[in-house]
Structure formats: C-alpha cells, structure tokens
C-alpha cells in the first residue's frame, strides 16, 4: 500500500483554523527560524480518512479476530468505557488545575475516580495503598523496584541482587537492572515450579527482592508461593508481584495474602482497557502499609469529603510520572470494575481459567504439553513434535493467520522449546474455542503429512513473510 507521503500533492489541504483576529507585524528573528518548511504531507481530509481506514483493515484485532496471545490477555474491551473516557469533563481537564490554589475544588470528579480506583485495587489485591501513576506494566515494575531499593537504603542496607525465575517476563530483569541491581535467574524444576534448593542457596543477605508472576508464565499457580515469600522475608528480602497474570485469580487468591509486598497491575490486561496497538496501558503499583511512605509524589488524600493532592511526603521515591498516570485508561478500568462488581470479576477469572483448560485438554493429544498439570488462564504447548518434521512454532503461527486467528505468543517462556502460549480469555465463546481447536488439529495433521506446505503461509495477508534480517541490516526507518 502507498505511504501517505506518496499521495501528497502540493496545494492540497485538510485543515481549517480560526482566522487571525489580531493584527501584528511582529516576527521571530530569522536566526531562530527553520530554513525549510517541515516536509509534512499535503492531502485532503478524505485522503487522510481513506488512507488510515485502509490501514486499519490490515490489522488483526480483538474486535475482528480471535486473539489468544498468551500473557497479553486480549479480552473484549467494552464500548461504554470508550465513551466515558471521551467525555469533555475528563478530556479537557488540565492536569495542573488541582495543583493551583483553588483548583482542587474544580477537579473533584477526576480525583474521585483515581482515589476510588486505588481503593478498589487495594481490596482486589490485598494491598494497603496504591498509586495510579505508572503508565505501563514495565513502568510499574521500575517504580516498584525503586520503592524496594528505597526501603533497603533507608534501612541502611546496600543489597545488590534481585532474584527472578528463568521463566519471568523479560521486563522483570530489565527493570531490576535499570534500577541498578544485579539479576540472578532461578531455574525451574521438571515440574515447572521454582527450584527451591537453588532458591535457598541464592537467597543471601545481598538479595533485595524476589520478583515473580503468580500464576507464572507457564500458567501454573505455584502452591509453594507462601513458602517462597516466608524464605524471602526471613532473609530480609521483599516480594515483588508482577501482576500480568492477576486476571487468573480474582477473588480466589490475593498477592497481599500470599506474602507479596509490592505489586504492579496491568489495567489493560486484567481490567479490559484496550491495548491500543501497543499502548497506552496503565501499570498502577500497590504496596503494604510499611512501604506506603515511599510511594511516588503526589498522593491523593481525603479530608472532610474533599480530595486534595499531598506533595509533602519526605520519604517518597520522588516523581516518577508528570501527573497521575494515564488518566483516561484509569477511567475505563474503573468503569469496568464497577460494572462487573465482585461477582463479575470472580466469574471473569473462573471462565478465563475454564477456557484455557478446555483448550489444553482438547489439544494435548496433538501437541506436546511440557508440564502436565492443571493450568490457570493460559496453557503452554511445545511444537517440538511438529518441529521434528521441520514445522516450527512460527510456521504454525503463520498458518493460523491464514485461518483468521491471531497466533498465540511463540517462543516464550524461554525455558520451553518451540513454545506456544495460548490465552483465550473469558470473553471467548465455546464456539470460537471449538473452531480454534479444530483448526489447530488440522494444522497438526498437515504438519505431519505435508510439512513443506507451511513455508507458503501466510498467503491471505496484505504481505507474505517479511525479511526481518534485511530490515535490521539495511535500516529503512523513515520516508
């Protein structure tokens, strides 16, 4: 398809602006001006509409395709929350309004949403206080690790290590390293659970925290999680909960009760806010009471029914975001939680887990299941059987695309060879799952019978397989 720059034509125009109603001959001195106009496009409004509408049709999305991308929780995003986040009363509000004298009174509605959402997230996770500020999961991780670092520092301890299971999300070690820690990976045993012997050996006085997901990235709930937390606490380390998989256990278990000290959540996963093609998300962070004083500036406090901002926290890690987080995302998550209520949230988790187990049972005779135990919200298969015939996880992914299904996450977690991580979510129907299952079986049979065929897939898409090596070698990043 043409680039928008390729349809540009001098003299075309798509904008209208208010007339300049003042007369002024004041000019900016030449030396401060750009030499040439920015080479932006010149097109009509309809050109723009047609172009981006055509682009939108070249995407798989939850609204048009089954999208069982493991770990990403591609559940349905309700439409009414989009409407609420577009209200002028939210969109037109300047974030500095509550920070000027007298302005707090004029932004009580927005402050209420954040304050109430933080309270709901506390109850959902069993934590004592939340900050809505982090703008994505990875941002939440960094914030959480900074809180942990601050805690140890103010205790006068210089701990240097963060322990992370080998099947953790890649962001975990990256966040810990960027906050200044050395990272040690704890291997998983044959049962898919953390190797406790190895953990005990690594858990020295130098360890600041253990950072993990629960259920983990294999979709397994580790029954020994409390034991791990107790060991960590005994060694003076804190427990960090990566909330990417919280959607599996709503109302069943809470990180706060399991012994976690710091959690981040991904509102765009568990609480159904759209993923936006890769953002914006929201990654609020919750902590236990003892850590609340380290939360980022500002906090929202309530006094006689009025909400206001508190900047006077002397133990805080400081500012981590310019304001209060991705506010419009917070509005959507808040609306979702209020609509579902406690029962709805439990139902969401139960059915997410049921859907994943259903797929696991129906496909286990066709694909290798490296860890044979009940799964939570996602199941991880290996295409090892198929790869013996030369059909790899990526080939299966491309075959699925031709069937109109977005592929599962492939090659993650790293400890599973040829991994295919399938997360159906609760909003998908049995009919959709059955269709997916029959296609996966068909693909397994084809892999056995005619493995060569896979090299052609996908062939129904706007482009066929793309040369990624060339993309990285002959960089072409802009037109």
């Amino acid at each position: 398809m043409e680039l928008i720059f390729e349809i540009s034509k001098n003299g075309k125009k798509a904008y209208t602006l208010p007339e300049c109603d003042i007369s002024s001959d004041k000019q900016i001195e030449q030396k401060y001006l750009r030499k040439q106009d920015a080479r932006l496009v010149e097109v009509s409004e309809l050109d723009v509409i047609r172009h981006f509408t055509a682009l939108s049709k070249m995407n798989f999305s939850v609204d048009s395709n089954f999208y069982p991308l493991g770990s990403c929780t591609m559940k349905y995003n309700p439409k009414f929350t989009e409407y609420l986040a577009s209200l002028d009363g939210f969109c037109m509000l300047h974030p500095l309004l509550p920070q000027i004298k007298g302005g707090e009174k004029l932004s009580q509605g927005a402050l209420t949403i954040i304050y109430e959402l933080e309270k709901l997230l506390c109850e959902i996770t069993g934590m004592d206080e939340f900050t809505s500020q982090p703008m994505a999961g990875a941002h939440g991780e960094l914030t959480g690790i900074m809180i942990i670092a601050h805690y140890h520092k103010l205790k006068g301890e210089q701990r240097k290590i963060v322990l992370i299971p080998d099947l953790g999300h890649g962001t975990n070690p990256a966040s810990a390293a960027i906050a200044g820690y050395q990272v040690r990976a704890i291997p998983s045993g044959k049962d898919g659970l953390m190797d406790m012997g190895c953990l005990k050996k690594e858990l020295t006085k130098d360890v600041a925290a253990i950072m993990l997901t629960c259920p983990d990235t294999l979709g397994i709930f580790n029954p020994k999680i409390k034991e791990i937390a107790d060991l960590a606490h005994k060694a003076g380390a804190l427990m960090y909960y990566d909330g990417a998989n919280l959607n599996a256990i709503l109302g069943k278990a809470r990180p706060g009760d399991l012994g976690f000290d710091v959690v981040h959540l991904n509102l765009h996963k568990t609480f159904a806010t759209p993923h936006g093609g890769g953002g914006p998300g929201a990654g609020p962070v919750g902590v236990k009471k003892e850590l609340a004083k380290y939360l980022p500036i500002p906090r929202i406090k309530q006094d006689k029914g009025e909400l206001s901002l508190d900047f006077s926290m002397k133990f805080s890690i400081g500012n981590i975001a310019p304001f209060y987080g991705n506010f419009l995302v917070l509005v959507k998550a808040y609306a979702y939680i209020i609509l579902l209520g406690g029962e709805g949230l439990v139902e969401a988790s139960e059915n997410a887990v049921l859907n994943a187990n259903y797929i696991m049972h129906k496909l286990k005779d066709y694909y290798d299941l490296p860890f044979k135990r009940a799964c939570m919200h996602e199941c991880v298969f290996s295409a090892s059987k198929q790869s013996e015939k030369g059909v790899h996880a990526i080939d299966i992914a491309k075959a699925l695309i031709d069937k109109g299904i977005h592929p599962p996450t492939v090659y993650f977690p790293l400890i599973v060879k040829e991994a295919m991580m399938i997360e159906p979510t609760e909003t998908e129907s049995k009919q959709t799952l059955d269709n997916f299952i029959s296609i996966m079986i068909e693909i397994a049979k084809l892999a056995d019978k005619d493995p060569q065929k896979f090299k052609e897939f996908p062939k129904t898409t706007p482009v066929k397989r793309l040369d990624e090596v060339k993309a990285a070698k002959d960089l072409n990043l802009s037109a």
Partner: protein
Amino acid sequence: MSYVANTKEEKSEMLKAVGINDGNIDRLFDDIPKSLRAKSFALPKGKSEYEVTRDIKKLSSRNNTGLISFLGAGYYDHFIPEAVNALAARSEFYTAYTPYQPEASQGTLQAIYEYQSSICRLTGMGAANASLYDGSTALYEACMMAIRITGKNKILSDMSVNPIHRKILYSYTGNLSIEFKEIPLVHGQSDRKTIDEYLDDNTAAIILQNPNFFGAIDDFTDIIKKCHDKGALAIVSVYPISLGLLKTPAEMGADIVVGEGQSLGMPLSFGGPYLGIMATTKEYVRKMPGRIVGATTDTDGKRGFVLTLQTREQHIRREKATSNICSNEALCALRAVIYLSIMGKEGLKEVAGLCFKKAEYAKNIIGKIKGVEVKRSSPTFNEFTLNLPKDPEEIIQKMLAKGFIAGFPAGRHYPDLKNYMIVAVTEKHSKEEIDKYAKELESALWS
C-alpha cells in the same frame, strides 16, 4: 455481568471435558491451597451499563472544564480536528496489540513508520522510534542513551528544562552513579557562561529545551558545538507545534531529540495518555531505546513493515536490554501522525504562527497593566513570563472565580521566582478572550 460468552450448559459441558463432573468451577483452582485463598474480596455489587455511565458522567461534571485557560507549562490546549478522533476510534487499531506478527499487523506497523517519518521531517533528525510513554520518560531514556554512547557519567541539566521532567529524571537515576550539574537559571536564554565552566571531558550530555519552560526561544548551535568539541552529546527537548516555525534541533546539531507529543492531537486528559517523542541521528540509531519499525520486503519483493532492531529489547536481552520499556504509546503515535497529516506542511506552520502572534498580542496588552512586567529578555513562542507586583498564587485563585485559569506560578518550582507567572496562548484563544483576560488580571491585581 462479566462479558463471559458461554451459557450455563456450555460451561458444564466444558467442565466435563476437563474432567470436572460435579459442575464445580472452583475445582479448577485446586492448586491454590485453602490456606492461601483470598482473605477478603469485599467489592461492591455489579451495576448495569446505564447506572455506571450515569454515575461516571456525574463525576465528569464535577470537573470544571468551562474555564478559559492560559495554563500551559508544557501541556497545551490545541485544536484537535475531529478526523483524528474518528480514525483513532477504529477498533481495528485500538483493540490490537504490539505488532509481533507483522503479516497480521501491517496497519499498525505502517502507521508507526509514517509516524516515525513525520517526526524525522518535523525535527530534521535521521531516525525516530515508535514513541515512549511521555516527554519526561523520553528525557530520562535520552540521558541513559547518552551515557551508554559516551561511556561518561556527568549530565549538565539546564534549569530552564521542564522542572517536572527533571525531577523524574533525578528520581529514576537516584540509585545509579550519575552526576548531575544544574545550569542555573538566568533570565531568557540558557547561560552560556556556566555551561562553558561545567562542560568537561567527563560530560556525557547536556539537556536543553526549546522553547524553554519560561517560553524563551533559543538557538543552541554554539552550545552544541562546544559539547561536541568535548565529546559530549546534546539532548534537546522540543515542543513539536513550535517546529512549524522554529529552527530544528537537527539544524542546531542535536544528537538526541525528545519531546512531549501531547500537543500533536492528544487532549489534556488530566495527565494522560500522552506521547514521548524520541529521535536521533542515523549514527546513534542502534543505541536508541524503544520500539522501532522498519521497512523491508516480503517473499514476493513487496514492501512491508516489521518491528526491527529487536535485539536491543528486553524480551530478548533481558537484564542487558537498552531499556525496560516493552511497549510504546502506539495509539497516541497514531493520533500524532493523523494530526500531522491533517494539518500538513501549511497547517502546522499556520498553527505555530497563530500561537506566536496571539501570544505577542497578549504580551503587548498585558504589558500595559500597571505594575506588570512582561519578561522580554529573549523572544518567546506561545508562552511568556510575567513578573507580578503581587503573589501569583493569590491572583490565580482570584481569577478562577472569574472563569480564567490565569497561568502557572513559577514559584512552585523556582523559589526565587515567587512573583513570576507563566502564561500560555494557543490558536484557540480569541482576541476577545485575551482582552477580557487582561482586564480581569488588572482588576485582580488592583481592585
């Protein structure tokens, strides 16, 4: 209600299929020991869509968005063409995820490629990434990038760079051994003398902002040349709308460009989502953090787009990654490229021109008020600074009652500037509003 799609019968059939015959769905959670079950889950009962909508609409009306605002401080109320909203509301865009499977994500990938191209054309730089969270996190990532490139650890931080952004930078790096030297504020443009003094062989980068937090326009060419002579890089933070007119950071010789992209089609939204702009020279592109989209060809030789240079990223490099950020603000980048396409070459120039002219008009008329000094030690773009004869905090509060947000009190971040107020004007302000503002400011000061 939970948007669960299956009937009771289907659920029990599925439970049977997984070996649970008594219909008890809770048995799926047998791996969670009884002692570890949730101690509480006291959430309110669910509500209907009508009730939730009604209640949240009511909350939205408790925010006063009817004020005439001259508040900017890095975040501006520009006009957003409705086509931006209409296209960004297409759910094929907003219900997709990171384009890991390029053949199924060409829409998002091409849009990001066009976004990167537009940012390059706007800033003059050789390469842009697919965006970061916001302007402040982009500034932090730029500093880390400069430290990686130079192997040095000292950053000169100009105090006229957005103070919130600098605070965030300092809290992120608190645990690392980075030395920050602040270039003190002088009225108007950045203080060349102190920069000369602080710049040494151990300097990784200087961070500058144009226009700066007080609205002053600068040309950093001379500073940047001196940095390069010492082996330091120059990070320049920009206000993208101003680039419709102003000298580009590339023309000044900048190595890394960052910016808050909110003004490119994002409403103010009480603080987010916004857009972190980042661009660099071709030389440093492989050191740049964040997602990057590249053009390539498919097996038929047809052009297509993929995420590229992924070997820098956390999902492959883990603790050795250039950044922990694993997403961008794709939908905001989409809004930005649509905005820039609608405005186009002429439109962006015209918006920038309107902002400048209206701000000049405002400076002129406000400057006539008794006791008010308009700072004129340097040219400004759409924002300027007033020295008031009374405490701006009080004046701002008084003017709220008259329906105006008068500006931002500089004393909040600069204790020495207690009487200064920063005022922003955009293309949305009419002459009538500016006249009325000046009148109300005068009366708040003197009556």
